[in-house]
């Protein structure tokens, strides 16, 4: 049986989890103090996901860059594909918070949206 070792992020305790795997199936989670730990352990081993936050260059804005995020979580292994897809993108001011910057980033089905308003200069 394969074992994976994780730190639970559910709360400040940071329980050391051991997730026992049989192939792609989670057999058991050990070391958790509460239910959150079990759910996290299973999710993090089978299909870990992350929200990515980064910046995109702005043309003609009061600031030279705008902060952006993935509208929803994307698979963890796509993090770098996601930021690479944003390289070289320049968006014209004004940019509104919530505005879509890039559709379907790195074939994840998730859009990149602005998290800040940047007015035109």
């Amino acid at each position: 049986m394969e074992k994976r070792y994780l730190t639970c992020i559910g709360c400040p305790m940071g329980c050391a989890l051991t997730v026992n795997l049989s192939g792609q199936e989670v057999v058991s989670v050990e070391g958790n103090t509460c239910k959150k730990g079990k759910i996290y352990g299973e999710q993090e081993v089978i299909s870990p996901v992350r929200t990515v936050t980064t910046t995109v260059a702005v043309e003609g804005g009061k600031l030279p860059a705008v902060s952006v995020k993935t509208r929803a979580d994307i698979p963890k292994e796509k993090i770098f594909d996601c930021v690479r897809a944003l390289k070289g993108i320049r968006i014209s001011a004004p940019v509104r918070m919530g505005q879509t910057i890039l559709f379907n980033v790195a074939e994840t089905g998730v859009d990149i949206i602005a998290t800040k308003t940047v007015d035109a200069r």
């Binding site: 980064t54 910046t55 260059a57 860059a65 770098f80 930021v83 690479r84 944003l86 390289k87 070289g88």
Partner: protein, 478 residues
């Protein structure tokens, strides 16, 4: 063909430049760094010494006392911060008293005015935070504190206003004798000149040895300091020295003209003339020894530490004069403490020598005064309002800690020999010198520099050369 080339743009060299600019002569200054005040002049105790330290009859003693006398008038003419706050040399133990008396006697011989010995009670009265164990102190009311950047930059700007040319990022690589004088080869071309003044600080031996067989040897003697926030600035009002004794020269505690508190220096000889690093041992020593004479030092208020290199010559005195085998070459070498105090007097002496040897004639149109950067905090409210109306940049605070406005930063950039880097701005305006150490203002100051100098943000440096601050833009390497 120059009449005089001055090597170095520290306080000694610029004092010489300013004094020589009284005369009809073509003069230039060559500096290897990007700005004035980049070596020993920027990292020292900022003290105007009274003059009791140096051996009687030495140049150090003579020029210290003379420089001290000149300081008031100069600070007025050239508009740099100077304050006669007086100094105390603290004697903690009765058995050390003879050595305090020795200092007093030497001071009297050197011509220091108003020197007095105070008993313990008298010391505590004028300086309540002195150690309870104080036995006596040597009180020198003529001692003072000065802004070393302010003085150095004032000399430079005034010299420039009087026609002295300045070449920065220009390192001297070699000097050869010519029929009329000297040819100096530098990283930026060659310079022909009749006379050379060597004010190269810790490198003065290297420059000297290019022309003279009577070699000099200068040791870089590192001194480390800790600077405390304004909130600690009135912990003492006098400059407090330790009595030199079995534990070495001791650590001074001094207010600065800008209201900080300065502790230091250590003294470590190094062969590295660029070795301005601080060390764990050095900083520990500063913090430990500073507390020997002054109690309750608020060490949590340290905002920065730094190290400077003293240019210590083997003969332990200033060397000012022509080497026998190199006429037309004037050394101003071995300028360590009390070099800052003595700088005006060194300038006067060097200019005097050249005036005589070269037969220089005074200019009719010498400009003796220079205005520093206006600090709007010194204005009354109505004058401040009027200023902002005329120049709104004075209403825009860039450095929060020192409350420095965009107006002052613009002045620093656009005046003669203006600032080109963050450190250049800092030395001229104090922006970035406060308790957050430029955390908040650095990006904004960089923005102003880039805009005013019409360069890219990536070209803005901390202190010229390869000290760029921005390495690229986001994702450029992905």
């Amino acid at each position: 063909m120059y009449d005089v080339v001055i090597i170095g743009a520290g306080v000694t060299s610029t004092a010489c430049a300013r004094e020589l600019s009284r005369y009809q002569a073509k003069i230039c200054v060559l500096e290897k760094e990007e700005d004035l005040c980049c070596g020993t002049s920027k990292a020292n105790s900022a003290i105007v010494h009274a003059g009791y330290d140096a051996r009687e009859g030495s140049l150090k003693a003579k020029l210290n006392v003379r420089g001290n006398e000149m300081m008031e008038k100069l600070a007025q003419e050239l508009d740099f911060p100077f304050k006669r706050n007086g100094s105390l040399v603290i004697c903690l133990h009765e058995e050390d008293f003879p050595r305090l008396k020795e200092l007093y006697d030497r001071g009297i011989k050197n011509g220091v005015r108003d020197l007095r010995i105070l008993d313990g009670e008298q010391v505590k009265e004028i300086e309540p935070n002195i150690s309870d164990q104080v036995y006596a102190a040597l009180y020198a009311p003529t001692a003072g504190i000065v802004c070393p950047f302010g003085m150095n930059i004032a000399f430079g700007e005034n010299a420039a206003a009087n026609g002295v040319e300045f070449y920065f990022d220009t390192e001297v690589n070699g000097i050869i004798r010519t029929e009329e004088g000297w040819e100096i080869s530098t990283s930026r071309g060659t310079f022909q000149t009749r006379w050379i003044i060597n004010g190269a600080g810790v490198y003065a031996d290297r420059i000297h040895n290019m022309v003279s067989g009577k070699n000099l040897h200068i040791t870089a003697r590192r001194g480390e300091y800790c600077l405390l926030d304004h909130s600690a600035g009135d912990h003492v009002s006098h400059t407090v020295f330790a009595l030199p004794g079995k534990y070495g020269k001791g650590i001074l505690v001094a207010p600065t003209v800008h209201g900080n508190l300065l502790l230091g220096p250590t003294a470590i000889d190094t062969e590295n003339k660029e070795g301005t690093c601080t060390t764990r041992e050095g900083l520990d020593q500063v913090l430990e020894k500073a507390g020997m004479n002054v109690k309750n030092l608020p060490m949590r208020q340290v905002i920065t530490s730094f190290a400077g290199l003293r240019a210590h010559e083997d003969g332990d005195d200033f060397i000012i004069g022509e080497p026998e085998d190199a006429p037309g070459f004037l050394d101003c070498a071995g300028i360590e403490s009390p070099g800052l105090t003595a700088a005006p007097a060194i300038g006067e002496m060097a200019a005097g020598i050249l005036k005589e040897k070269m037969g220089l004639k005074e200019k009719a149109d010498f400009i003796s005064e220079r205005k520093g950067i206006l600090d709007p905090k010194t204005l009354d409210k109505d004058a401040y309002r009027k200023l902002i109306k005329e120049q709104p940049a004075y209403g825009n605070i860039i450095c929060r800690c020192e409350k420095i406005t965009e107006g002052e930063i613009l002045d620093a950039i656009h005046r003669p020999l203006g600032a080109k880097s963050l450190d250049g701005i800092k030395r001229r305006t104090r922006a970035g010198m406060g308790r957050c150490q430029s955390g908040f203002c650095a990006p904004r100051t960089m923005e102003i520099l880039a805009r005013e100098l019409q360069v890219d943000m990536a070209d803005i440096t901390k202190s010229g050369g390869h000290s760029g601050i921005i390495e690229g833009v986001n994702k450029d390497s992905l």
